[in-house]
């Protein structure tokens, strides 16, 4: 074995003086089993890091961790590691980088394939920008995290931490150090339990089916952290569910969510009246709530007996020697719902007896208050200590019951205890208030417009009408993939009048591309030839097929059995379609394309001119629209040519006048395009989207957010029978377009220069 100075003299001598000694000391260990070439790469990497300013100590950590990467995954993975290392160094500093190298061995053991390592490094890269301070705790926990989460789960978990605590570094640290209850619950749920977002939709159906009412279900606010155990709460008729339920005793998380939802809905149905807090002691408040829980459940079970089987598994209290307030209340809860449960305790028996007595007047909420108050007196005589501050309602599926109490009339007699109750309730309501503005209404899909008047297809002469109509903003929902809801009326789309340019530009395009136009024309003819005009030899039809009749008559004369197919009828026009060409007009379309000697926008314009020419020639019904965006409040939408509007001078002038500016909020534009197509009655409806990059906007920093929203928008259109096809000019598009549009519904054009001929050809292929 040569020393490092002998083996790689040039690279070695390039190292800073101070580093040489330490590198030399670490080299033997590091270079073992590496090829000469790999050794060079390793050393080169160290030099690069030193140059970036990582410091000698970190370089030594690198030399300890990196060889394993080289041996197990190869050179490209080391390159990836180095890239991410520089990013970590830049955003989070040397100690974070040191921590990365330190933790790498335990992470590597859990990432068997190079691809997984790359994904893991990708998450680190993403986090180093979004939340550099979270990196060290993440590295410290990396072994445990990777044990419990798949990589995409880890990513979601990490991003949720960043998003939820964007402003509070302390809470964020708690999250990544796994000190936060939410962080642990979500971690655990990802492994074995269930997240609220995964069951939200089916719970919605479930509650609507059972109770025939709109029940708003929302995830709990994350700041509910650190208070009493995670429970469902009901604020202003909205059921707030924990984001993840810890798994319970062999019950799956879905069952727990369902039990919780059914219980909360029973409250909404039967606990309409609030109880006055007045002179009740805390233990009485707790017991009145408990009886009210039982009352609501009994009323629900009266109608739907199967609900008992849903709730019962969560009641696991047993008569034990431990004699605490909480266990007594759990036993009472169980005694009230479980007829087969035996408990000798006098308090439990008395509660059971009183409830049984009241069974025939369950509809009266006052019985809960009455029984609860009496039981509270009993409780007081038993001298069992009870602390409302630490009291958590059991079993797990029951909500916190704060909604049962009217906090307003406690008046001056308010005791300290009542103050406690009041405080927790206030906190609750505050949280509810924050998000109540985010309540969605049920209407989805269509644009929400402040006014009922819809700008219809207007002729060019009605300029004033256009102006008025165009200024009407449209409001669209936007999908938040992290939270799993549509943010209601989130995006404002404004239709703007397209400024006309010189229509001769478009004619010149056609002249310049006369070769392409000729080819297109022959393709169009071929498509038209395929159009069936008359279907002959039909068993039935609206006319006689003369040829077939003659044949049949001959058969008859000859004494043969004739072919009965003697009719003909008009075949349906197979080109019954409506196409909307949607152009991305963002700033990036002004980029120069060296190979073509022009800009992306010019190429898009040429392509659009050619495809419009083709569609017009075919007699297809089509529209050409475009969009750009400037944050969610300003998505600009241009209609260059509408359906039913001739492709004339004006339309061509508008095409000639289009400009590229601002950003690309694709989802909203797609929804608006879909809004127009939905009004078309065609057998096939298609949005042909032409874009040069992924969706982005100035007010969105999470790259995935708009991608997921666009995907959602595409799915929405599909549900309405509208197909979306994307022609992307971004060579790196493969990574996201498949996800957005589906495997077959996109095409990535590598040679921009060829766009003008590709687009019309693609169109013909798609539609014939």
């Amino acid at each position: 074995m040569h020393s490092v100075a002998q083996a790689h003299p040039e690279l070695f001598s390039a190292l800073p003086d101070a580093a040489r000694e330490l590198v030399e000391a670490a080299w033997d260990e590091a270079s073992r089993g590496l090829s000469f070439e790999n050794q060079r790469v390793l050393l080169d990497g160290a030099a690069g890091l030193l140059q970036a300013g990582c410091g000698i100590a970190v370089a030594v950590s690198y030399l300890r961790a990196a060889p394993q990467v080289l041996r197990a995954y190869g050179e490209s993975s080391l390159a990836c590691l180095l890239g991410v290392s520089v990013s970590v160094l830049r955003h989070a500093g040397t100690s974070a980088l040191d921590s990365l190298f330190d933790s790498l061995p335990q992470a590597l053991g859990r990432l068997p394939a190079a691809q997984q390592l790359h994904a893991y490094l990708g998450i680190i890269d993403e986090l180093s920008e979004a939340a550099p301070d979270a990196l060290i705790p993440l590295f410290v926990q990396s072994g445990r995290l990777l044990d419990q989460l798949a990589l995409d789960g880890l990513r979601r978990w990490a991003l949720l931490g960043v998003q939820s605590h964007g402003t509070d570094p302390d809470e964020r640290h708690a999250w990544f150090r796994l000190e936060s209850r939410d962080a642990r619950a979500i971690l655990r749920a990802a492994g074995e339990g269930v997240l609220f977002t995964a069951v939200e939709r089916r719970l919605g159906f479930y509650l609507r089916a059972l109770w025939a009412r709109d029940t708003a279900l929302r995830p709990a606010t994350v700041s509910g952290e650190g208070r009493k155990g995670q429970r469902v709460s009901i604020v202003d008729g909205v059921i707030r569910m924990p984001r993840a339920f810890e798994v319970f005793l062999g019950q799956d998380g879905v069952a727990l969510y369902r039990a919780a939802a059914a219980h909360a809905a029973a409250h909404l149905q039967f606990s309409a009246q609030r109880f006055a807090l007045r002179a009740l002691r805390p233990i009485q408040v707790a017991l009145v709530s408990l009886i009210e829980d039982a009352r609501a459940e009994h009323l629900a079970m009266r109608e739907m007996p199967g609900l008992r089987a849903l709730w019962l598994p969560f009641h696991v209290a047993l008569p034990t020697v431990t004699f605490s307030a909480v266990s007594l209340m759990q036993r009472l809860s169980r005694a009230l719902i479980d007829p087969g449960y035996h408990d000798e305790n006098a308090f439990v028996a008395r509660g059971r007896h009183m409830f049984a007595q009241a069974l025939d007047q369950l509809e009266v909420p006052a019985i809960s208050r009455e029984i609860g108050a009496l039981l509270g007196d009993d409780f007081g005589r038993m001298r069992v200590p009870f602390d409302f501050r630490t009291y958590v309602i059991e079993p797990l599926y029951r909500d916190d019951n704060l909604h049962l109490w009217d906090m307003g009339d406690a008046g001056e007699q308010r005791s300290d205890d009542q103050e406690t109750i009041l405080q927790s309730a206030k906190l609750e309501q505050q949280e509810g208030g924050e998000q109540s503005s985010a309540q969605t209404d049920e209407e989805q899909g269509g644009p929400a417009q402040p006014d009922t008047a819809q700008p219809d297809h207007v002729s060019a002469s009605e300029a004033a009408v256009i102006e008025a109509a165009l200024l009407q903003p449209y409001l669209y929902d936007e999908w938040d993939y992290l939270v799993g809801i549509d943010r209601p009326r989130w995006c404002t789309l404004i239709e703007k009048a397209a400024e006309p340019g010189d229509p001769r530009v478009i004619e010149e395009v056609l002249q310049r591309n006369d070769e392409t136009v000729r080819r297109l024309t022959s393709m169009i003819r071929a498509v038209q030839m395929q159009r069936p005009q008359r279907l002959k030899k039909q068993l039935e039809g609206d006319r006689i097929d003369l040829d077939a009749c003659i044949g049949a008559t001959i058969d008859l004369r000859a004494g043969r059995v004739p072919d009965p197919r003697v009719h003909q009828r008009q075949g349906r026009n197979s080109r019954d379609l409506a196409v909307l060409v949607l152009l991305d007009l963002s700033q990036s379309t002004n980029d120069w394309v060296p190979a073509a000697g022009t800009t992306v926008l010019e190429l898009a314009r040429e392509a659009t001119a050619l495809v419009a020419h083709a569609m017009d020639d075919l007699g297809d019904n089509f529209a050409v629209h475009g969009f750009d965006s400037n944050g969610r409040h300003e998505i600009e939408y241009y209609r260059f040519k509408d359906f039913d509007q001739p492709y004339d001078e004006l339309a061509r002038a508008r095409l000639a006048g289009m400009k590229g500016r601002l950003s690309t909020r694709m989802g909203t534009a797609l929804r608006h395009a879909g809004h127009f197509l939905r009004q078309r009655r065609a057998a096939q409806r298609l949005i042909l989207l032409l874009t040069d990059g992924e969706p982005h906007d100035i007010d969105v920093h999470d790259r995935q957010y708009l991608i997921f929203d666009t995907k959602r928008a595409v799915e929405d259109q599909r549900r309405h029978g509208i197909a979306t096809f994307c022609l992307s000019l971004d060579p790196a598009a493969d990574e996201y377009v498949t996800r957005i549009f589906g495997a077959r519904n996109f095409m990535v054009l590598d040679h921009l220069r060829r766009l003008p001929e590709k687009l019309p050809a693609l169109y013909l292929r798609l539609t014939s």
Binding site: R202, F205, Y206, R208, A209, M304, P305, L310, E442, L556
Partner: protein, 272 residues
């Protein structure tokens, strides 16, 4: 050579046994009054709520033959009125079911009439006003309706499709009866009678049905029909466990949406 079908061919359309029908309101009396003046009738209501059974029952009650035509998208006018057929001896005319009913005085029932294309349904227009005639253009014959003839159509107004609706010119020729899910007690009685389960089981089935109808327009196009409940009841009566019967007869036919199925199965569990 013309071979006219004999009057006997209409005899096969006569209903001999009384079909089970449980009246839910005044529909029997109203229909009888409408038949007395041969008013064309339109039965509106969701699928599986008893429209077809009602027509069968009324035909039996009035002692008239009933010609039922299930309409579909590819149905042409010739499918209704008839066509020339070829055989070794030449051509002969064959009456369609509508013509048959018109000639020999049957009740003609066009089931789910919106499924047929609108240009097909206009052939019924001359039959549904004072003329009461059916022109057979291809044959050059004008058939005057038999005094007993009556036209009845049915359709489901909840069907969400802008393309499939009745034209005003068609719908204004009919008197209409609205059908909906029977009230709870009646539906229980129907399910119990038709399937043979106990009223208690029938009650639970009806509850499940009611729950599913809450989801109409919120993920479901249509709730569970009485007919589906009867099917589920028949399975239960045949010894199938209630939860499995509901799954087979109620939940799975209704939707392919996994979340929706899960929610419906859970709703079933709230009763069984």
């Amino acid at each position: 050579m013309h071979r006219l079908p004999s009057e006997n061919s209409i005899a096969q359309y006569v209903i001999d046994e009384e079909p089970y029908y449980r009246a839910t309101g005044q529909e029997v009396a109203l229909y009888e009054a409408a038949y007395a003046v041969r008013m064309p009738m339109m039965l509106k209501g969701p699928t599986g709520c008893g429209k077809t059974r009602f027509v069968e029952y009324m035909a039996w009650r009035l002692g008239k033959p009933l010609v039922t035509i299930a309409c579909h998208e590819d149905m042409t006018a010739s499918d209704l009125v008839g066509r020339h057929l070829l055989d070794a001896g030449g051509t002969h005319w064959s009456d369609g079911p509508l013509t048959l009913a018109v000639r020999y005085g049957a009740i003609c029932y066009l089931d789910e009439v919106v499924e047929a294309r609108q240009d097909t349904t206009v052939v019924i227009h001359p039959l549904t006003d004072a003329r009461r005639v059916l022109p057979l253009e291809k044959k050059g014959e004008l058939v005057h309706a038999h005094p007993d003839f009556q036209l009845v159509i049915s359709y489901n107004p909840g069907y969400q499709n802008i393309m499939k609706d009745l034209k005003q010119s068609t719908r204004q020729r009919f008197g209409a009866l609205d059908f909906d899910w029977p009230v709870r007690e009646v539906e229980i009685e129907i399910v119990a009678h038709e399937s043979g389960v106990s009223p208690q089981i029938a009650g639970m089935l009806v509850s499940v049905g009611e729950k599913s109808r809450n989801l109409k327009g919120h993920g479901l196009e249509e709730g569970m029909s009485t007919r589906m409940l009867v099917y589920a009841g028949q399975l239960i009566a045949g010894g199938v466990a209630p939860a499995a019967a509901c799954s087979v007869a109620l939940v799975r036919p209704l939707t392919d949406d996994a979340d929706m199925r899960d929610a419906l199965e859970a709703a079933v569990k709230a009763f069984f």
